[in-house]
Symmetry: C2
Subunit: 692 residues, 2 copies
């Protein structure tokens, strides 16, 4: 089967994107990094982040090598139809390693610019909001464009070489392994530092946020970078590639005659369109600049959406000229992608509603803080659960319409559409930690109140953007894993997954329980690790009273070490179970039960992810609302209660909630990749088929 | 089809059970009710409970009449096979009303004895632990035996008259409507009062527990009765009847030739066996008495289990004499019931592990209180989620073995087995609030420290028993609703529920989300209503300072009124959605999607029910552990943090968590009962079948 020439669009898009990233990087680096103290602080953050990445990548390296070897002994996807054990399946293995390296590189690149952009954005704030915003925004764009560029080039090259979407699965699995490590590890790291810094520094010693005397301050800033830039970046890299690959696999069974080759690469084509849309949007925003950072970020998202719809229309029109027989179907697919993207936007904005401090939910949570710690928790808990409703409706509607338009392939294309403008989404997201750090650096560099308040404005816009992109990421991952489930069934030759079969029901049962256990493990990890951090900070203050007076510097490195080691140790168990559980379910109860397991995990994971992200976001903003002087303001009992809410919400929204996405993708890919292994158990009927 | 003579066992068992209940009631009434003050307090509780029941039953009456009329216009289940609309389906309607009345009567009877037993148990504590225990235990048994007796007589009579398990569904639905009202209403009531009393009385004014100056004290005691006795009783009545009816329907399609009539009534036979087992167990415990209340309650459960296995063996052996051809199958079914019961016990005891103050989870939660409010919440939250694992494994293993033994009928019989000794379970459960009240009355009646500490011992045993029965109730309800799902599919003629069909997946999605939203609504209800209670208590203290000095009595009735009205108002919305959502899913997406909806709701409901019950129980006991003088004891910051945990846990464990059971049963029965209505939409394919 020939690969249509349109695939070169992807290569062009990818290369342009990487060139743009390099260009933006140079713009960021050219900016003034500020005074000595700022450069010093930024340097600490930079080296802390490098330490984490180094340790993390070392272990990740071992993990990847072990899995690569395991993959070699799996049946080759190239001969999948014959379902034979073919030893030394080097393609899968190689592509897997490449996927992992690509994801690591993209994450590293983005983060590395992030830690340069923070101090430069702080310095630019001395000139004005527009200037400060521009530096941070470009820094975020480097990450966004790097992620998308690398992913797109990687996927298209692998497909052009091996001509099998099943081999591309390996690339996706590589990206996922990295994402799981980065997301869980980064999430544990960032909250270990944050909770530790808050519990001792802020609560016990009344130090302000980002105070240099607090030994965990640098670790906290590092956490923002490794959790929110590198972690989020690899998470979206992961979903992005997975949505492409799942939809490519779904395309292989379409009945479209000679247009098959085209339909298989449609996901790649649409992603290229999305990338151009993101790029143009970014250039327009950069060109016009803005004094209102929040508006600018949102305009970027809207612009990219409109441009995607417009450019997609043009490209599909061009394609129909060479494939007139498939014209109707192509238009239907086009609509599915647009529906997907629109529903992503809607989901993002409903998350925003539930977490914004000027809307009813967060207002009510803040008010309930007046009745004490317990009531603020109950209130955030219930609003968090309620907030699952609207995005669930969004996904359901998108899925239904996409399915009506073009069956399960339509559902996959909706996921692709949702992720098409991921460049913009990652850019907006990475902007957040850059300005968060910039604010801290401005404080430590003593740039004065005016500059700090400018940096504050940038930071607030970052928080809003983050709420939206988080909702978006969960929605997109959800549609993607649904598409992966369908592609898994396709690949395994499963025609039905019948819930009335007890073994299938058991699979679904385990699936529904899994995200709950996974969330619990991650929250416990943070709690355990934060406990160590708390003891270390207390020890430093007690052993050296000169730290508190500012005469001697606190030992940042010790805190960074605790966060780094802890994150690494704690992520191992959840990571391994996310691979072992699907394999166990498949081997024991069979592949149909594994399909149900995936469905159960996807649906319950969605509930937990949205609930945890939104309740956490809402508690955070309720606290900020009170700190802004409302309901009595700082220092009151109401404020203390709101801090309890925020602290509970921290591991919810930044560790467990967003890690669930990655968990789901890894589990779904594991099921697909290890298909050959699973089919070895009574032809996929599972060990239990002796009885059931 | 003839009904085998064995059904008369059920009538005998039911009558014996009611006679025993009447006898125990007379024993309780004969006991000394104590001094004047005790009688007075008990009288207040009694009248408060009556007020609630009166108001509740009035609205419930209207609800039942409306539904009864609606049911009249549904196709008659007697002509189900032809699927015709037969107007004036009086059988279903009549039986529905009878089911509702039976459940109301059983709940009322049990609660009415409970409010008499409390003061008598307190007085008996002046003689000794054994005596105090005996009165409370017999009081609980009245409830347990009334529930089982009425249910068994009701089900068998309805079946003997109409000879159709589908008509028995109406009886079950009647019981469920009542249970939903009692469980949600009772749960909201009890926590409104409890949280209100704690937040103002204990926290703001430092009044001790059960202090008569606290205007919400009586409402709090009333709450124990309406929530834990009447609510729990109607909940288990509901599951009990539902498990019988679901399994009877599953039996109708068995290929067992002339033994069909026997297999249809097997659930009734096994429940009768279980009732005899419970009765003998109760008499043995009563006969020997015990100084160790905790041990005595558990021995009752073990005894009933062993007796059930023994008596079941004998009765099945007798039956095989007249049905030699079905002997093997009968023995397999027998084993399924025993497996069900055993797994129920195991599930109960794992809940116990996660909530006992001498085990690791609760210990860790208590210790985490040392790190503040937020950490105690995080810790309880994660242990609560982790605790879902073991009972899930219990259910899965029971389901798998039961299925291997006799297909979905075996699964139904496992549910029947699990609920067979429900008499003992309800008795143990109702014992809890009786001794809880007894402790309060002993305090208010000034019976002295020795008596109070005796009452305390009884109370502690009650708490442990409650943890076990709660886990048991959730497990049993879970297997029951799974059986109901299968019987629903059976009845609708659905052969497969294919998760790869998008409409089915949408159904499952809505199902998984539903319990989350339902829990959120109930928690919010408690929070809203408790807010009103808080304001009322504060108002009373502020307007009349003589209440605090004890010179004038607080206005109990005002608090009772707030709790009553609030509970009623707040339960309406959740109750209605639990009927409307399944109907909407079925009408729009079709009956197969509705089946998936049920499956999704059952699995996710299980997660939420176990999580909320166990985390709540654990926080409660962590607080008690600290109040016992550990980790610094009362009044410390650690203690305060543990109170936050307990307050958050209150609506989790006593309102939302246990209501989910009833929700699931109601939703499942709604699907079955309104089958005719749903089949009217494109022959059950749903409105969407035009597109999907």
């Amino acid at each position: 089967m020939e690969v249509p020439i349109y695939i070169y669009i992807a290569l062009v898009a990818g290369i342009v994107s990487i060139l743009a990233a390099i260009y933006f990087r140079s713009l960021v680096m050219k900016a003034d990094p500020g005074n000595e103290r700022m450069v010093e602080v930024s340097g600490y953050i930079d080296s802390g982040a490098r330490t984490f990445i180094k340790v993390q990548y070392k272990v990740l390296g071992i993990f990847v090598v072990v899995l690569a070897i395991a993959l070699m002994f799996l049946p080759s996807p190239l001969e999948n139809n014959e379902r034979l054990f073919v030893f030394l399946n080097w393609e899968q293995s190689l592509v897997y390693v490449i996927g992992a390296i690509a994801s690591m590189w993209a994450g590293y690149l983005g983060m590395q610019v992030g830690v340069k952009a923070n101090t430069r954005s702080a310095q630019a704030c001395t000139i004005g909001t527009k200037e400060g915003f521009n530096v941070a925004f470009l820094g975020g764009c480097v990450m966004g464009l790097a992620v998308v560029g690398v992913a797109l080039i990687g996927v298209s090259l692998v497909y052009m070489i091996f001509l099998s979407p099943l081999v591309v699965l390996g690339f996706s699995f590589g990206a996922s392994s990295v994402a799981l490590f980065m997301k869980c590890g980064g999430g544990i790291y960032t909250k270990t530092a944050d909770v530790g810094a808050d519990l001792v520094g802020k609560a016990e010693y009344n130090l302000p946020e980002d105070d240099p005397r607090n030994p965990a301050t640098i670790a906290d800033n590092v956490g923002d970078n490794v959790g929110d830039i590198a972690g989020m970046g690899s998470d979206l890299f992961d979903s992005y590639v997975a949505s492409i690959v799942a939809t490519m696999i779904l395309a292989t069974s379409l009945v479209v005659g000679s247009a098959l080759g085209l339909f298989i690469i449609l996901p790649i084509i649409f992603c290229s369109v999305g990338l151009f849309a993101s790029l143009i949007g970014i250039f327009i925003i950069k060109w016009f600049g803005s004094d209102e950072p929040g508006k600018a970020l949102n305009s970027g998202t809207y612009l990219a959406t409109v441009l995607f719809a417009g450019l997609g229309f043009i490209i599909i029109w061009i394609i129909t000229l060479s494939y007139p027989n498939s014209a109707v179907r192509l238009w239907r697919v086009y609509l599915a992608t647009v529906i997907g993207l629109l529903s992503g936007i809607v989901i993002g904005f409903t998350s925003d509603y539930y977490t914004r401090e000027d809307k009813k939910p967060t207002r009510s949570i803040a008010e309930s803080a007046e009745e004490g710690h317990a009531v603020v928790i109950l209130s955030g808990f219930s609003y968090g659960l309620l907030s699952v409703g609207p995005p669930a409706i969004g996904i359901i509607v998108a899925m239904a319409i996409a399915y009506i338009l073009d069956g399960v392939f339509g559902v996959g294309m909706a996921a692709v559409g949702m992720l098409a403008v991921v460049g913009t989404i990652v850019a907006n997201d990475a902007y957040g930690p850059i300005v968060d750090n910039a604010r801290g650096i401005a404080e430590q560099g003593e740039l004065g109140d005016d500059v700090i308040s400018t940096a504050d404005r940038l930071d607030m816009a970052g928080n809003t953007a983050k709420a939206i992109t988080k909702g978006f990421a969960i929605g997109a991952a959800n549609l993607t894993v649904l598409a992966l489930m369908f592609s898994f069934a396709e690949e395994a030759g499963i025609e039905i997954i019948d819930l009335l079969s007890v073994r299938v029901l058991i699979g679904a049962f385990i699936g529904v329980v899994a995200p709950a256990i996974f969330s619990a493990l991650l929250v416990m990890s943070v709690q355990r690790n934060a406990g160590k951090m708390v003891r270390e900070i207390r020890r430093q203050f007690e052993e050296n009273p000169k730290i508190l007076t500012g005469e001697e510097a606190a030992d940042f490195n010790k805190c960074i070490e605790i966060a780094t080691r802890g994150a690494l140790r704690e992520l191992i168990f959840p990571s391994i179970i996310s691979i072992i559980i699907p394999l166990a379910v498949g081997a024991i109860f069979g592949v149909a039960a594994l399909g149900a397991f995936l469905a159960g995990a996807i649906l319950s994971g969605f509930v937990f992810a949205i609930f945890m992200s939104n309740s956490g976001g809402s508690w955070d903003n309720a606290k900020k609302y009170i700190e802004d002087g409302n309901l009595g303001g700082k220092g009151t009992e109401t404020h203390k209660a709101s801090i309890t809410g925020d602290t509970v919400g921290d591991p919810f929204k930044d560790t467990a909630g967003p890690s669930i996405n990655t968990l789901l993708v890894v589990m779904s890919l594991t099921a697909s990749i290890f298909m050959g292994f699973l089919l070895a158990f009574n032809q996929g009927a599972g060990l239990i088929s002796v009885f059931l």
